[in-house]
Symmetry: C2
Subunit: 462 residues, 2 copies
């Protein structure tokens, strides 16, 4: 059982429901859409990421003998027979990765026989929710510091290995420069950064020896960590070492600060480096950083050239989850609508149309029905998988990253800021509203059932 | 490259440092300890979990050809040669899983040649940090609702698949009853729970048909979801259905509420079920729950028998990370101490001694040196791996769960509550304090180096 691709990455109810669907011959086409119900506090928009992993999961979905054996202890033979031949045969529509989106706009649609579409729910949410969460968080640092080196430092405190890896991918796609996580570099071809930890300095008797040892091993990657004992004294050691290394044509590339008052240290260290002839050496900062700290440092013109962002990025610390759901919108050709208070959904298969103003900036979206409801604007939802097979060769991560950064240029200025912006305009098309109303009217049979049952309640409640 | 066991699950600096260690022949024994610097707000203690996954990682650590090929594009041949034969040969000391612990108490110690001990840092933190985080969160629900059915519902919004799986394991070890995540059940032998989603109800034209279909498929697992349309009306349908199913000897086991005012609905639904002769049917609740909501519901005696806890559990929503670090405490036989302001560490290899009062409750801990510093109390740190091999067969998860629950009985009453308790007493032994002072004194050479360098600063700063 592969923990990252097993079809048992599902909630148990997906299998109990599946059994009933099979027994009741409920295998007609179901349409589920994935969307976020509301923005978390402090976010003006979200960035859709995770589609690649979803498509890979769906394309390779099958049950191993071991998985079937486990299920056979809980489900009858006809369920196991069905699962033995299971593969995903549905269609997937989605926004391209890196698309900016808003609440109630579907970012992914699954169209498949009901048991299939239901079975894949939990892992689809699990993948899209997390990567979208992290990309949306990373975007904020990219918007605050567009010209700085931004590196994902968060794997150690990410929630497990997959979170660390997908956080590297999502943040790179959102515009980060790279990651410290080696495996993310190897798997996704993301630039990898890193030099030394405090333990490296401490394992040496002298800090200056540690610096020199490192520089001699890594003449092209000499970013020296200078805050283990006395940051300014260490900056002077760097200057002295740079002089010494000139003879061997080794150049000090920069220094890293990881604690203390970053603003004060950066200013003093910059001065020391400059006076020591190391004007080109960069200052890289890390340690409890997030987009707010970046904003504070950069708006006071603190001379820092790059940032390592760890925990706050990989767990999206100020908003560690999204209210992300996967809802049935149609079954057997009939649109469905959940009417629960505050949780009502827009029924049917939907398309999003985005308009742009004369300045090129996003000016408003319309949520419309996919069919017979044409609107002005760019269509955001595309067919990406037909009958279980991906439609076209994937874009590279680098290409998607460029497109994502291009999308930021079309954000209205207020929305690109960290502060809350006026709500972006997302309208519901007349036809979609009419369909929702019509469904509510048609649900008379359901209402009659409820009101008949309510009569009975009197028997039970005085 | 296996994303969950690859030795590339490391920060890049672990490899750059390794190269220098090899080139400088720095392969003597290093001692690193893992500890948490401070409690997150709202926690009175933490519960150590994740050791099993760490030992498995260390025992199986080796480089594949593919991994070596990738590294060979960045590191010289002598590094690749070393890694080709790499396996972890160190010792591991740790607290047993399920041990209650406090800031500055090491929960894991690695004793290994420096390049080995350094290479495994990031994945060790990644595993121990997350499982400890989740077990510590789960414990709070178990303490609030010790006699209720508590089920992990959080996989879909956990941060990736591994987080979902490890959250099931950590919460079960901490006393939860089980999980909804099928793969966690299959991998760890955790009880698995689940019946139906709203989409199941919506795919049927009538709610009562959905209920009956499910009951006929799953006569032993009929927990019916009753909040899709009108919760109380649905409860009446359940009573009517129960009557109808008696002929077929099918018993309704219970109902689930997932939205609305859970207290009000539970009280009304209980009344309907009781008057309908379903006194034994349980009420299970889910939907945005955490330990605070459980506490509110149970302290008002709301008749709920079990809870599904999702997002808040799997992301530890109120404290999604711990200040968890892995620090060099000794190298080449010499204790090391990081002296940075506010981040000073206690040097050397340590043992924790725990005392209990006459009432059997925990009364205080002493952090002492492992050798020649005997103290009263229970020793919490044990040798669990010697020279890269585990010492004894693992305890089962079920056994660890029982021991964990037994540990809760020894918590002082105030610490077992949700509210902040007075700080638990953790003292530093006289010998450990003396060692720290002695190291500070001995670091005169380092201080001299710094003060000499500080002289130079004048050249650079006016």
């Amino acid at each position: 059982m592969n923990p990252l691709s097993s079809p048992l990455l599902a909630d148990f109810y997906q299998f109990t429901m599946l059994q009933t669907y099979l027994e009741q011959e409920m295998q007609q086409i179901a349409v589920f859409e994935l969307f976020v119900r509301k923005l978390p506090p402090g976010r003006n928009f979200l960035v859709a990421v995770g589609l690649e992993q979803v498509l890979e999961f769906l394309e390779n979905l099958k049950f191993s003998d071991e998985e079937l054996d486990w299920l056979a202890t809980r489900f009858p033979p006809h369920v196991i027979n069905y699962l033995e031949h299971f593969h995903f045969e549905g269609d997937v529509h989605a926004m391209p990765e890196g698309t900016i989106f808003f609440p109630n706009e579907p970012i992914l649609r699954i169209t498949a026989p009901l048991p299939q579409a239901q079975l894949v729910e939990s892992r689809i949410i699990n993948l899209m929710h997390f990567e979208t969460l992290i990309a949306s968080k990373a975007t904020r640092s990219v918007l605050v510091a567009p010209d700085k080196l931004l590196v994902d430092f968060g794997m150690r405190r990410a929630h497990g290995a997959e979170a660390g890896l997908l956080a590297s991918r999502a943040s790179y796609l959102a515009g980060f420069s790279g990651t410290a996580t080696v495996l993310a570099g190897a798997l996704y071809d993301i630039p990898v950064y890193g030099t030394m930890a405090h333990s490296f300095i401490q394992a040496h008797s002298y800090e200056s020896t540690a610096f020199e040892h490192f520089a001699r091993s890594h003449p092209d990657n000499t970013i020296l960590l200078i805050d283990t004992y006395d940051t300014e004294a260490a900056a002077v050691k760097v200057v002295i070492l740079a002089d010494k290394l000139k003879a061997d044509k080794i150049r000090i590339k920069g220094v890293r600060l990881d604690s203390g008052d970053l603003a004060e240290f950066a200013i003093n260290v910059r001065q020391i480096l400059n006076k020591g002839g190391l004007e080109k050496a960069i200052i890289f900062a890390s340690g409890n950083l997030d987009e707010y700290r970046l904003h504070d440092l950069l708006s006071s013109n603190v001379p820092i050239d790059g940032f390592g962002i760890g925990t706050a990025l990989d767990i999206s610390s100020d908003a560690p989850s999204l209210d992300c759901v996967y809802k049935l919108q149609e079954y057997a050709g009939k649109p469905r609508r959940k009417r629960s208070e505050g949780k009502a959904t827009w029924p049917g298969r939907k398309q999003i149309y985005r308009s742009y103003g004369d300045d090129g900036c996003m000016a408003g979206d319309i949520v419309a029905l996919e069919e017979n409801d044409p609107q002005e604007g760019e269509r955001l939802i595309q067919l990406v998988m037909r009958a279980g097979r991906r439609l076209r060769p994937n874009q590279s991560l680098h290409e998607m990253r460029h497109l994502t950064i291009a999308n930021y240029r079309r954000l209205p200025v207020s929305m690109a800021a960290l502060e809350p912006a006026p709500m972006y305009r997302v309208s519901i098309s007349v036809a979609l509203q009419a369909l929702a109303n019509q469904l509510d009217m048609e649900q008379v049979s359901l209402d009659q059932e409820i009101s008949q049952t309510r009569q009975h309640i009197k028997q039970y409640v005085e």
